[in-house]
Symmetry: C2
Subunit: 184 residues, 2 copies
């Protein structure tokens, strides 16, 4: 099983990727290539960051032993992806709540670039948010000043989930002021 | 001035959009079409959210008077975009710090979909983070239980900024454990 456009090098339209990307939670027992990882990480690198500060770091985990340890402390990860990428924010100095929010947003923006890039390469992915930060820092030697924000799972999909229903635009978009009807 | 692929309907590759999108801060005095807004908002709608909760709302501001008021309380917005989209998170009940983080991440992920969609449509955009939330809530009648997280500016670009330098992958990516060298 897999996605439709697995032929490498084929161009994938932005709107197709946005619309057809699914969160994949079951992965095939098949590795992914270094070149695919490079492209996905490069997509993260080109994400905008507040003030171009680029205060994120990415840990690629492909070692079976480490993957198993990460999986055990992440209740939301059931299957065994080919790779995890842990996105960390850098917090060298004391940060305000506002600064923490900016860093978290920057990591989330980079994560979305990664999901779209993975889709374009024929790979499945998901953002995992539920994990023990303390345990993850221990397992991956993450220093005090770095904060693991998200785990991205990556691999060949072993499922083709239906899109979860989305609210219609009329319910989530307002015109000019909050609550005022907007017509698409 | 503008972007290279302004011909509507042309397919834009995911990696091109990720790599060539720039934060645009100077806009031409030219409106954007309803259809473009619909496509950009639909891209936000298809962003993944934690537990598919879709707890974001979007306010499209195109009224000149309201735009001017929004601009005045947003120190980071110098030029006059064709539209603002304010992304709000829903906070009906008392939220933990963790829940607030999830909602913020969901809004950031939707924002990135919007920036990429705007690029694919030949439009410029930027995420504005610096604004008075209290004043914005007042101007746009945003209720107590909704929190404006980001303002997205949208319009035809009136500049072609160079890409701000990015750190090389070797500096921001680690293999298996934090700090261990990764080879692209």
């Amino acid at each position: 099983m897999g996605l439709e456009h697995q032929t490498k090098g084929e161009s994938v339209d932005v709107f197709e990727a946005v619309r057809k990307r699914r969160s994949i939670r079951k992965f095939a027992d098949r590795p992914i290539e270094g070149e695919q990882l490079t492209k996905i990480l490069d997509a993260a690198r080109w994400a905008p960051t507040a003030g171009n500060q680029q205060r994120w770091r990415f840990i690629v985990v492909t070692s079976p032993t480490l993957k198993e340890m990460v999986r055990k402390i992440s209740p939301g990860i059931f299957s065994r992806p080919a790779a995890f990428v842990v996105i960390c924010s850098l917090r060298e100095e004391e940060l305000s709540h506002w600064d923490e929010s900016l860093l978290l947003a920057d990591c989330a923006i980079a994560a979305q670039n990664m999901l779209l890039a993975a889709y374009a390469l024929g790979l499945g992915s998901c953002i995992a948010l539920s994990f023990s930060k303390i345990a993850l820092k221990e397992i991956l030697d993450i220093p005090e000043h770095a904060e693991p924000e998200f785990i991205i799972t990556l691999g060949y999909a072993n499922e083709q989930p239906q899109p979860p229903p989305r609210l219609p635009l009329e319910e989530i978009v307002f015109a000019e002021r909050y609550g005022e009807g907007w017509e698409p």
